[in-house]
């Protein structure tokens, strides 16, 4: 808001320096994670600590893949996060289209019910869902990891708010041209909703990649573990092998940093749209 101001004041510089110091504190754990991941196992216990090892061990990054099936875990995370994201985009956008562009009896009530579900903490449904998945024989399966997340109230709400802003004349014009609802949904509304779809996609992908409790309780075979669960079990087995644990942490974080770097604007717009609508 001070774009009009020509010269930065002393206060501006002070704030800049404080923000810089804060940024270093925020980055510190990441730097230490990378630093530790490249050290020989014994060096991490040395005092005083070193930032850069004299004997760097990039081989730690190969060691983790031979110690546990970490490649498989990363693959599982990719499969689960991608499937959940695609399913949510389809299911939520269909529901949002009905709420935003179609008239039907019970629309407001059903929308309120979906919204009310936002108040239900996921831990409330955890136990019944676990029992359901177990009875279906879906422990250690992809469908058990994916299907419970295929719909989200948040996603429906986000997309519906966005679709509401599409001018009704556009939809009316398509209808006069003889388009049916499937054509309007796929050919008019979805293309115009790309920013909101992008925000939901990134948001969902990151949330799924980092999801922990559900995959923790619904997988037992190492070959079905996702990255977060593999990392936690690595901690259980090698709790003093800090270079190995930090290697795993780096590998779990890097893909999200890339996703975030590619779409940080839509990610943040997803969060803030939700907040303005929720008020």
């Amino acid at each position: 808001m001070n774009s009009a101001r020509s010269t930065p004041t002393a206060v501006d510089w002070l704030i800049f320096l404080l923000l810089l110091a804060g940024a270093l504190l925020m980055c510190g754990p990441f730097i230490w994670m990378i630093s530790t991941s490249l050290k020989p196992s014994a060096e991490v216990f040395r005092f005083p600590p070193t930032l850069l090892s004299a004997d760097p061990q990039p081989g730690n990054y190969a060691r983790i893949f031979s110690t546990i099936p970490f490649g498989q875990a990363i693959g599982n995370s990719v499969i689960v996060a991608t499937s959940v994201t695609l399913l949510q985009l389809v299911v939520c956008s269909m529901a949002a289209y009905a709420f935003a562009c179609l008239r039907f009896r019970g629309r407001e009530v059903l929308f309120l019910i979906y919204l009310a579900a936002l108040m239900v903490p996921s831990q409330v449904t955890l136990i019944p869902n676990f029992i359901l998945i177990r009875n279906l024989g879906w422990i250690d399966t992809y469908q058990g990891l994916i299907l419970p997340y295929a719909f989200s109230s948040f996603g429906t709400f986000l997309l519906r708010q966005y679709m509401k802003t599409i001018p009704a004349e556009l939809i009316e014009a398509a209808r006069i041209d003889g388009a049916n609802h499937l054509q309007i949904y796929a050919g008019v509304v979805l293309p115009l909703s790309l920013p909101a779809l992008g925000a939901l996609a990134i948001f969902t992908f990151v949330a799924q990649w980092n999801n922990f409790l559900w995959p923790l309780i619904t997988t037992s075979k190492p070959s079905m573990q996702v990255t977060t669960v593999a990392l936690a079990s690595l901690q259980g087995q090698f709790n003093t092998d800090w270079p190995l644990l930090m290697t795993g942490s780096v590998l779990a974080i890097v893909p999200m940093l890339i996703v975030f770097a590619l779409g940080n604007r839509s990610f943040i717009s997803g969060i803030t749209t939700g907040s303005f609508g929720g008020r």
């Binding site: 005092f47 029992i131 975030f260 008020r279």
Partner: protein, 301 residues
């Protein structure tokens, strides 16, 4: 109304209705199976004894009475309250300060925003691991640093019943402040510029402007951040799981960890569901409080 010429209107509306339910069908099925019915089942399971290996037995209020009399559950509620009471204000205060700083248009603000936000997109399991390493009482960077600075009595952090919870809280503040910051930034950018211009004409600058204009106009967002932060903080689990496993001797056991522990380590689905209902009630009450108080406390433009 449709006296003549448009007999198809009714059937068209009916057709639109049918189409709407087709579009809703996938979400309805998934919602019913994985949210609606489970909420109802959780309620009923909380009135049973069920270990998953034998059929459930009716317990009526036994689980709730057991929770009420369980000193560990009381400790868990106390711990969770302690966590929420410290983590939420700290996250919000630091998030607000960052947002106010960034909103001045300092150089590199885009980079700052990304850096402060990075921990939010970081897997909590990975973040908990590196912080467990930083807080390691013998070889962690924090204690090594403290002893280099000349400290003689070093806290045992995660293995100390006094310091474990503050350590977990510190990590959650590190991880959560970027989220509050982004929301506050959006709120700040939503304040109309002419309000500031009017204030400038009246001679308001610096702190006066912050106190009398920015903060009151930001209050709807502040209230929203407060409520979602409290609700989110009541659900803390992953940091506890990775950093302390609820120890030492339950010093960092929290509500969701208690649910996990009883459900999936002790196979007491009834007790776990009853504890989940307590969590549900807390979140529900907070949401209702939000609706009630919003109008009284919050300034809209």
């Amino acid at each position: 109304m449709s006296v003549s010429g448009k007999p198809s209107l009714g059937s068209q509306a009916r057709r639109e209705e049918g189409v709407a339910w087709l579009f809703l069908a996938p979400s309805l099925v998934l919602f019913a199976v994985f949210t609606g019915l489970p909420v109802i089942s959780a309620f009923f399971i909380s009135f049973t004894h069920w270990d998953l290996f034998n059929p459930p037995r009716l317990a009526l209020f036994d689980n709730y009475i057991a929770l009420w009399n369980d000193p560990i559950f009381r400790q868990v509620l106390g711990n969770t309250g302690y966590y929420v009471a410290l983590a939420v204000p700290l996250q919000m205060l630091l998030g607000l300060l960052c947002a106010l700083g960034l909103n001045r248009g300092v150089p590199g603000q885009g980079v700052f925003r990304v850096i402060y936000f990075l921990p939010v997109v970081t897997s909590t399991v990975a973040a908990g691991l590196v912080w467990a390493w930083l807080f390691n009482s013998n070889f962690g960077l924090i204690n090594m640093g403290l002893s280099l600075l000349g400290a003689s009595e070093l806290p045992k952090w995660l293995v100390s019943s006094r310091w474990a919870m503050p350590a977990v809280i510190a990590v959650s503040v590190w991880q959560g402040l970027g989220y509050a910051m982004v929301l506050f930034l959006a709120g700040l950018q939503n304040i109309r510029r002419d309000v500031y211009e009017a204030a400038a004409i009246d001679g308001a600058t610096g702190l006066t402007r912050l106190w009398y204009i920015t903060l009151p106009l930001l209050s709807p967002m502040t209230f929203f951040v407060l409520i979602i932060s409290i609700i989110g903080s009541f659900q803390v689990f992953e940091l506890v799981y990775v950093m302390t496993k609820a120890g030492p001797s339950n010093a960092t056991n929290t509500l969701v960890f208690f649910i996990y522990q009883n459900g999936f380590m002790f196979y007491q689905m009834g007790i776990a569901s009853a504890a989940a209902m307590v969590l549900f009630l807390i979140v529900l009450a907070l949401t209702l409080v939000q609706y009630r108080l919003q109008n009284r406390w919050v300034h809209y433009e």
